[in-house]
């Protein structure tokens, strides 16, 4: 019977094809699962807390949240990769609101938590001054991703007699001892500005940076046609703007941060002064450009390190940061915060390995000692510290506002 025969043929062929497809599918399934690596966020039984101190609210929160998120990413990565056997890292982030008093309270809080074996932060040099002694007394290591005030590591007389005051203080950002002069060289030689009006916010960072800029600018033959200090708690700079306009300056150098720098630059230009506005790493933020408006074209900032997007070592960091879906950008110090956390993780690893796989009773002191000797390839390049606790990576970049974004125009490295 032809109909029945055809059915049988169909069934047999269907079985054969199904079997072949099943065999293929099983093979492919086996193939697909061979590299399957289910990562875990748990590294082991002991929890080590790494404190993060930064301005998480207020005007400077864009930079602070970039630091916090990047620290979080470093800890997640270390736990996933089980970088230290038996240790799970955790961050505890406290908001210093860019205020020294809040920073000091946070330092005391970190010291009181016995699980905290290191702290990353703060952003502001003035806040760091209030925290250093608290940490040093407790032998608790502090690694700042952003402080640039030279005195923090090299003592108050750093220009004539460098002395390290706090053995527990380290930083991954280079200092204003290099940043100020490098900016002066660029403004004088490359931007060809010979008459500069220098303004600062009277804070540790701002006044220090304005000072190192001024010294070098004068040595090069430039003229400082005026100086002013502003009150960072106000946003009305009309009186200063008028003084700048009447000074004949062709550039303004500002030692301070972007929340004031943006409105200051805008008001000076709106007053009719034909100037280029320049500043340090604390104005190197997209927020400055937003605040300064369309007149910010050609303005100049310097910032620590090479442009992070140029670093092969930063590619993975940038990809992972995006994959984590953080709401805020990593900003100027994200890569440095990641490296600061990683320096502490590397130190914990060394201490644990030297103590038969466990944390010793004097873990804080041991971790501080170990940070001094870390050396690894980080997001921002080679990470290690000199005899003052300063980074050995002394690179700087000059940026200019082009098409509404900070664009790198010159990079330099201190090799002295």
């Amino acid at each position: 019977m032809p109909g029945k025969g055809l059915l049988i043929v169909r069934q047999r062929s269907l079985i054969a094809i199904t079997a072949a497809l099943a065999a293929g599918a099983l093979t492919l399934t086996a193939c697909g699962s061979r590299d399957d690596d289910s990562g875990s966020d748990s590294g082991g039984g002991t929890t080590v807390v790494i404190g993060v101190d930064a301005p998480l609210t207020g005007d400077l929160s864009a930079l602070g949240l970039g630091i916090k998120n990047s620290a979080d990413l470093a800890v997640k990565t270390a736990n996933k990769d089980k970088v230290v056997d038996g240790i799970t890292f955790k961050i505890e982030a406290l908001d210093d609101q860019a205020q020294p008093s809040a920073g000091q309270q946070n330092a005391t809080s970190f010291v009181a938590n016995k699980d905290v074996l290191g702290v990353v932060g703060p952003l502001n040099s003035s806040v760091a001054e209030s925290m250093q002694k608290v940490f040093d007394d407790a032998k608790l290591v502090e690694v700042s991703p952003a402080n640039t005030g030279p005195a923090l590591s090299q003592g108050a007389d750093w220009q004539t007699n460098k002395v390290r005051t706090y053995k527990s203080y380290f930083r991954t950002a280079t200092t204003d001892a290099i940043q100020g002069p490098f900016a002066a060289q660029y403004v004088f030689n490359d931007a060809k500005k010979k008459n500069v009006f220098v303004i600062d916010d009277k804070k540790t960072y701002g006044a220090g940076l304005a000072g190192t800029f001024t010294d070098e600018f004068k040595k090069l033959g430039g003229k400082v046609v005026g100086t002013e200090h502003i009150d960072p708690d106000t946003k009305d700079f009309s009186a200063v703007a008028t003084k700048v306009k009447n000074s004949g300056a062709d550039a303004v150098y500002y030692g301070g941060e972007y929340p004031q720098a943006g409105p200051l630059a805008k008001q000076i230009k709106d007053a009719g002064a034909k100037i280029t506005f320049a500043g340090g790493d604390a104005i190197y933020s997209p927020e400055y450009i937003k605040l300064a408006g369309s007149g910010s074209k050609g303005d100049i900032s310097t910032s620590v390190g090479a442009p992070i997007e140029e670093l092969a070592s930063a590619k993975e960091f940038i990809a992972n940061y995006e994959a984590e879906g953080y709401k805020e950008a990593y900003e100027a110090y994200g890569g440095y915060a990641y490296d600061s956390v990683w320096a502490i993780i590397e130190a914990v690893k060394k201490v644990v390995e030297d103590n038969d796989g466990e944390l010793p009773s004097d873990a804080r002191a041991k971790v501080t000692e170990a940070v001094q000797n870390v050396s690894f390839d980080g997001v921002t390049g080679k990470v290690s510290f000199d005899e003052y606790g300063d980074t050995t990576n002394k690179q700087l970049t000059v940026y200019s506002v082009e098409n509404g974004v900070w664009t790198p125009v010159k990079s330099g490295t201190y090799t002295g």
Binding site: P2, G3, V9, S13, A20, G24, F182, Q185, E310, G416
Partner: protein, 208 residues
């Protein structure tokens, strides 16, 4: 006994599961050309289908085989090169008055070779020459000594006390060509300032 039984088909209705009178018991499907062809070539078709599946599986396995990651792109030359100040050098024969010679060591730490294309300095009152003549190529792990001679052309445009003077060095590797500033440090600043002050100071005193 209670309950409602199945509704019987009434007039003008029919049960759909009952065959129509006169309908064939099972309609033999009509065999198309493809079916007839398949029936004749059944073995070949099966072999071909299995071969296709295995080929596809093999292809997938090959495409997704574990592979070494592609070699990382070379990094920017400024990130693998050091330029360090070695100290003053004797002036080359025939150097003009007011010249100042010093040596730098260019070291490439890793990656593909880096070529030093040009060395300049930022002050308009000074010109510069170097020996050996540039370009100089430096392989990973090796260094080159370059002697630089600065010639003062105009004392008015020379800073005699720069704190952190630098050299602009044009570097090239397979990744990029970059002009990078190397700030050679306090010893260089001191030696340069002293040489410039000595020459330009005497020029000023002699009224030239």
């Amino acid at each position: 006994m209670s309950g409602v039984g199945p509704v019987e088909p009434g007039e003008g209705t029919r049960a759909w599961d009952a065959p129509e009178p006169g309908a064939p018991l099972l309609a033999a499907p009509r065999r198309g050309r493809l079916a007839r062809l398949y029936a004749r070539r059944r073995r070949s078709v099966l072999v071909t289908a299995i071969a296709a599946v295995l080929l596809a599986g093999g292809g997938y396995l090959y495409a997704t085989r574990p592979q070494e990651p592609p070699p990382a792109a070379a990094v920017y030359p400024s990130l693998v090169v050091d330029v360090g100040y070695l100290g003053e050098e004797p002036l080359p024969a025939g150097a003009s008055r007011g010249a100042f010679s010093f040596a730098v060591k260019v070291t490439t730490h890793s990656g593909p070779p880096v070529t030093v294309l040009r060395v300049t300095q930022p002050y308009s009152g000074i010109s510069l020459s170097s020996a050996p003549r540039l370009p100089v190529r430096t392989a990973a792990g090796s260094s080159h000594k370059i002697v630089i001679t600065m010639h003062v052309t105009e004392c008015a445009n020379v800073p005699q006390n720069a704190g952190l003077p630098f050299l602009d060095v044009t570097l090239r590797n397979t990744r990029a060509m970059q002009v990078h500033s190397f700030i050679l440090g306090e010893r260089y600043a001191h030696d340069l300032s002293e040489a410039l002050r000595t020459y330009c100071g005497s020029e000023a005193a002699s009224g030239v």
